[in-house]
Amino acid sequence: MNTEIVNLLKKKYGLDNHDLEIAITRVNELEEAVKKIKGVEIVEDLAQSNPLKFSNE
């Protein structure tokens, strides 16, 4: 769990403990989503349709 984000949410939005717990499940969901997207290899496909070559990371 990203403690930086938890601290930011506490400080910036003054979330109570319940709100914070709910937000943490959402942060976890989002981190999982980002991890899956970063795992996609599409450089070749993009190269076919775009003159620019992108690196995935």
């Binding site: 979330l15 709910i22 499940t25 942060v27 969901e29």
Partner: protein, 472 residues
């Protein structure tokens, strides 16, 4: 004459045209039902006080022979994130409780040009950000089939109002399934058109890359009339609404049954993960289609599961951008279920967002190729049945280690990323009497084909379509 509640829009329209029924009769019928029954399900935020007056004007126009078409005099409810001139658009939030719209949304203008009567605003999840239909700011919309269950969201009020016969058709919006999920949970038909088919101008945004607007109605044909009339009447400045529509889409609508229709059924692990009750009803639907001449083609679309996280990231990144000012000045006024979701996006980077857009483009191209193997894709609308409202209390959500209801948009949200037309219609009922939806998805901009297949399925599935929720 059958009860008005049992008539489709085309049947009502025929009777209006023949002057056997008038828009004032519709006002009397539906306003009486709303007055008697809406307190049980809380589907409406506001009923406009000029409804009766507009019904009288429509009646006069029709009696003078100025019949505008199949929606003339038909009452339509509007999800309360769609602007209606001089009325408040709350988007389901306290933050916008005095937000009076200066002009009407394009879809409202188009419907009014077709002669429809906009009768009021329906409840929704705050800022349309949730699949469950929970809004702790509101009286809480209930599922007409079981008042303890969630109606689905975010177009919760529109779906519940149609299911309870408080209005024949309603506007919803759909970014990850917000038309189709409540349609499924409430046992009505909901259609998400291809992206940019119907204008979203004047609709409070959730994610400009994924947002769509469309109808929730009693059946596919009613939804088709709605789409056709909006396409005819909306301002085509920035879009080509008729792309994919060869003629008036309702010509031969009923007579054209699919010949050798190839229906793709995803049978991979991602699309197979569903409750047993949903699976049973879905399998029955597949058998029904097969016995009525469709060719069933099992397909592995496991690669497509990546579209779900893509939807999550794009929606959240764009929602945070839309809400950035409110999040600074009004964060205490958000509901617990939405603030906790919005702020979770604080950790997103621009690279995460751009990567998601790149993957989205890849998914769209690959999906187009998949459709060479079948004509239409069918799967359950949601992998689970509606849960109890009480499961979504603040205490319950905070005690759960996983997102409660997080599986609900697993299938629907995929097709916002592909931007394809997608329809949910009633497939059958669970052993506890809850509706189960079947979702058809077609090629991008081939909306007519999806609506035709939905209409066909509803005809062969007529045995499941006579039940009504017992709320009287």
């Amino acid at each position: 004459m059958s009860s008005i509640a049992n008539l489709s829009i085309s049947e009502i329209s025929d009777l209006i045209f023949k002057k056997e029924l008038s828009p004032v009769d519709l006002f009397s019928f539906y306003s009486d039902r709303i007055n008697r029954l809406d307190s049980k399900i809380n589907s409406f935020i506001e009923i406009f006080d000029n409804w009766e007056e507009k019904a009288k004007i429509s009646e006069q126009e029709i009696s003078k022979g100025e019949h505008k078409g199949p929606l003339h005099g038909i009452p339509i409810a509007v999800k309360d994130l769609v602007d209606v001139k001089s009325k408040i658009t709350t988007a389901g939030s306290k933050i916008l409780s005095s937000n009076v719209a200066k002009s009407s949304a394009e879809i409202v203008n188009a419907l009014e040009s077709s002669g429809a009567i906009i009768i009021g605003k329906t409840e929704l999840v705050e800022f349309a950000f949730g699949p469950h239909g929970i809004n702790s700011n509101s009286k809480q919309t209930k599922n007409p089939w079981d008042l303890n269950k969630i109606p689905g969201g975010s177009s919760s009020g529109s779906a519940a109002a149609v299911a309870a016969d408080l209005v024949p058709i309603a506007i919803g919006s759909d970014t990850g399934g917000s038309i189709r999920m409540p349609a499924s949970f409430c046992g009505v038909t909901g259609f998400k058109p291809s992206y940019n088919k119907l204008s979203t101008k004047g609709v409070f945004p959730l994610s400009w890359t994924l947002d769509t607007v469309g109808p929730l109605g009693k059946n596919t044909k009613d939804c088709s009339i709605f789409v056709e009339e909006v396409c005819k009447n909306q301002n085509p400045n920035d879009q080509d609404p008729y792309r994919g529509f060869d003629t008036s889409m309702l010509d031969n609508f009923d007579s054209l049954l699919p010949v050798r229709l190839r229906i793709g059924i995803p049978n991979d692990d991602y699309f197979s993960e569903m409750d047993d009750e949903v699976k049973k009803v879905f399998n029955n639907s597949v058998e029904l289609m097969k016995s009525n001449g469709a060719e069933i083609i099992n397909v592995d679309l496991s690669w497509l599961s990546i579209a779900r996280p893509v939807n999550v990231v794009i929606t959240l990144a764009e929602a945070m951008s839309v809400h950035k000012d409110y999040l600074i000045s009004n964060y205490e006024e958000y509901t617990y279920e939405v603030i906790s979701r919005l702020v979770s996006g604080e950790g997103l980077s621009i690279n995460d967002y751009l990567s998601s857009l790149r993957v989205m483009s890849y998914i769209q191209r690959k999906m187009n190729d998949e459709f060479s193997n079948f004509d239409i894709l069918a799967c359950p609308t949601t992998p689970e049945l509606p849960g109890l409202i009480e499961e979504y209390s603040k205490e319950n959500l905070s005690a759960s280690k996983e997102v409660v209801g997080g599986r609900i948009p697993s299938f629907t949200s995929i097709f916002n990323v592909t931007r394809q037309p997608s329809l949910s219609t009633l497939a059958g009922f669970s052993s506890t009497g809850m509706p189960v939806g079947l979702m058809f998805t077609g090629r991008l901009n081939k909306d007519f084909g999806v609506l035709q297949v939905g209409n066909w399925f509803e005809k062969i599935n007529h045995g499941n379509r006579s039940k009504k929720p017992a709320i009287e």
